[in-house]
């Protein structure tokens, strides 16, 4: 009977272990995406310098803005495209307008495609690092500052920086109520 108990408790432990592993997949996935730059996710403003020996070249950057679900704000970039030289600082302005009659909070989530290019797209300043709070009818223009890494693989001639705008008013007020 003891051996039965022993096998059963080992199996129960295994079950608990796998339940935890399911949750561990969340940070594992984030770290994996961060290291490999998959999923077009971009890490924070970490870029400082690059190897000056690498030749610079021209790359086409496309800016895409879209609203998630029923997000009513208007959200546009100052121009849809620009040609940039790798290794140099650039700036692009984005305009948000709260078209509703009540104050709202929004969060823009960036994504770079092709995903392989994401880790060469360095943003030194971005509105996406924080939430935007706008009163009813208010509008705001905010910049993104970025540098394209000269080490960008040769076969990538153009990059697209996409932003999806989410309505986080509810989540944010809930969070503040909790605090």
């Amino acid at each position: 009977m003891n051996s039965t108990k022993r096998s059963a408790s080992k199996l129960v432990l295994m079950t608990c272990g796998m339940f935890c592993f399911g949750f561990a997949l969340v940070p594992i996935y984030d770290v994996f995406c961060d290291i490999t730059g998959l999923n077009g996710k971009i890490s924070g403003p970490t870029f400082t310098s690059y190897d000056q020996a690498i030749e610079t070249r021209e790359v086409q950057i496309t800016f895409v803005t879209s609203n998630n679900n029923k997000m009513p704000w208007s959200f546009k970039s100052a121009s849809p495209q620009m040609r940039v030289k790798t290794g140099e600082d650039y700036l692009m302005n984005f305009t948000f307008k709260n078209t509703t009659d009540k104050p709202m909070i929004a969060q823009a989530i960036p994504s770079v495609s092709p995903g392989r290019g994401a880790r060469y797209f360095h943003k030194t300043e971005c509105f996406c690092f924080e939430q935007q709070f706008l009163e009813a009818g208010e509008s705001i223009t905010v910049p993104v500052k970025f540098i394209i890494d000269p080490e960008l693989p040769k076969n990538i001639a153009s990059l697209a920086l996409g932003y999806t705008l989410f309505d986080v008013t509810e989540e944010f007020t809930n969070l503040q109520a909790l605090n």
Binding site: S3, T4, S7, A8, L11, V12, M14, T15, C16, G17, M18, F19, F21, G22, F23, L25, V26, Y29, D30, C33, T36, L38, N39, K41, N68, N69, Q107, I109, S113, G115, R116, T164, F166, D167, V168, E171, N174, L175
Partner: protein
């Protein structure tokens, strides 16, 4: 002296209690096995009725019978019920009945846990089915419940769905703990691991798969629950989460899950083919290693379900090759079955017919699986009826046929009565013809671009769809015949002998048909199998 003691003992010896409490409180593996089997048969007809609604809607193009919203609920619940309510509990039912009898054990190692793992199942499916009567209707996001479709955009009943999945998971995990513990500790003396019957082996490995992945599924639905009710952002992009993460977690569970639904089938079919070929199984140890390698590989192939999410080439290649690798152990099994039949003295009773059909049709499903594994080609097949054809070929003429084969094979043992062979063969031929009529044309419409999970379709798919619907109705009808055959067998079948099938090997054939309520109170000797 000892004779006196034994007869005294016989006086105290009692059979099952009477009435409903027998079933509610039972800890007997045979009772619990029967309940699992009846439960899954009932769920088969409920899930089947949903399939009939789907096929009735798709009989002709255009919106015919049900609303698109209800159609989505049908598709979702058909999948959930067939996977979690039919195939899995039916195999657990077989495990309960057959594992103790095949290894010469008196019962399962943890009989009370066994009772609990069965009785929470009707609760789980009661909750799931009750969602049909709730505001907003039943779950409608597909059996794969991808977030955010199943979180932000889900009907309010999704919370009930989550709890029912939790309960189903708990039931499977408890069942698996019981099965592994039984196999490890209660084998007859002399039955080493490599002498175990193949059905026992297949369940031994399946139970490990269940323990490894059901908790991950429980974790996934828990994260959904937290996203919906507690403001977390596991899968919400707005809060820094990632919907693609859901697919990774789901398929990390989901791919081993599909092998959970087929490995015990391999075990059942192996027994039937050796019995009716009157030869021992060809390549026993390679069969065991093949099952084990399929199980191990199942953990590293999950992303072939999601080639189209945008993976790097290296990822696609890895998952493509690892998936194709599974064809090797599966091929070993198929050729072993063929070699077992080769030069055997074959007879074609109903279980054998279903098993041969299993080998042939499961292989068709396996081959379309290889097609789907080809990453560049998958972009065309993804989310079309080709995928539907593929997984129905491995689950219906695969898993379900093996269950029917096993039911015919062991029914005389369970009930003590023979089933009606003519009716059994009629059932087989009706099922065989209609299953192919149902699922084969799905390959064609799928390759031509008909998307799955849509209640309407373009005119050019009309003819094939009508044919598919006719096949499906016929298949549904054939299974009612099965119900009739089982009831007829229980009520007034011919008396069955202990051996039932000429040349059948294994401890289960050394006891009477039906077996006494308690078998193998003292362990049998391996010598009895040599005769």
């Amino acid at each position: 002296m000892s004779a006196v003691i034994e007869s005294n003992h016989d006086d105290h010896h009692h059979g099952p209690a009477k009435g409903f409490s027998r079933w509610l409180y039972t800890t007997n593996h045979k009772d619990i096995g029967s309940m699992y089997l009846w439960f899954s048969l009932i769920m088969l007809f409920i899930g089947g009725a949903m399939a009939m609604v789907i096929r009735a809607e798709l009989f002709e193009p255009g919106s015919q019978i049900v609303s698109p919203e209800f159609y989505n609920q049908m598709v979702t619940n058909h999948g959930l019920i067939m996977v979690f309510g039919v195939i899995m509990p039916a195999f657990v039912g077989f495990a309960n009945w057959m594992i103790p009898m095949q290894i010469g054990a008196p019962d399962m190692a943890l009989p009370r846990l066994n009772n609990l793992s069965f009785w929470i199942l009707p609760a789980a499916f009661g909750i799931l089915l009750s969602t049909f009567f709730m505001e907003g209707g039943a779950p409608n996001f597909g059996w794969t419940f991808y977030a955010p479709l199943s979180t932000e955009y889900a009907p309010p009943s999704v919370t009930f769905f989550i709890f029912s999945v939790h309960i189903m998971g708990a039931s499977s995990i408890m069942g698996s703990i019981n099965i592994i513990t039984t196999i490890l500790n209660m084998r007859a003396p002399g039955m080493t691991l490599m002498k175990m019957p193949l059905f026992v082996w297949s369940w031994f490995i399946t139970a490990y798969l269940l323990i490894a992945v059901m908790p991950v599924l429980a974790g996934a639905v828990t994260m959904m629950l937290m996203d919906i009710h507690f403001g977390t952002s596991f899968f919400k992009a707005a809060g820094g989460g990632d919907p693609v993460l859901f697919q990774h977690i789901f398929w990390f569970f989901g791919h081993p899950e599909v092998y959970i639904m087929i490995l015990p089938a391999f075990g059942i079919v192996s027994h039937i083919i050796e019995t009716f070929s009157r030869k021992p199984i060809f390549g026993y140890s390679s069969m065991v290693y093949a099952i084990a390698s399929i199980a191990l590989l199942s953990f590293v192939v999950w992303a072939h379900h999601m080639f189209t999410v945008g993976m790097p080439i290296a990822g696609e290649l890895f998952f493509m090759y690892s998936t194709m690798l599974i064809a090797i152990p599966t091929g070993v099994k198929v050729f072993n079955w063929l070699s077992t039949m080769f030069k055997g003295s074959l007879t074609f009773e109903t279980p054998m017919l279903f098993s041969i059909a299993f080998v042939a049709l499961f292989t068709i499903g396996g081959l379309s699986g290889i097609m789907l594994a080809i990453a560049p080609a998958d972009f065309q097949y993804h989310d079309t009826y080709f995928v539907v054809a593929h997984f129905h070929y491995v689950l219906v003429p695969g898993a379900l046929f093996s269950l029917l084969a096993g039911a015919y094979y062991w029914l005389p043992k369970w009930t003590g009565h023979m089933y009606d062979e003519t009716l059994g063969k009629t059932h087989f031929w009706m099922s065989f013809i209609s299953v192919n009529l149902t699922f084969f044309p799905m390959h064609f419409v799928g390759l031509a671009g008909m998307p799955r999970r849509i209640p309407d379709y373009s005119m050019q798919f009309a003819d094939w769809n009508m044919m598919v619907s006719v096949g499906a109705f016929l298949f549904g009808l054939s299974q009612l015949l099965f119900l009739f055959i089982v009831i007829k067998c229980v009520l007034n079948g011919k008396k069955a002998t202990a051996e039932v099938w000429e040349g059948a090997k294994g401890f289960e054939w050394t006891v009477d048909s039906p077996p006494p309520y308690h078998t193998f109170s003292s362990p049998p000797s391996m010598e009895t199998l040599k005769a």
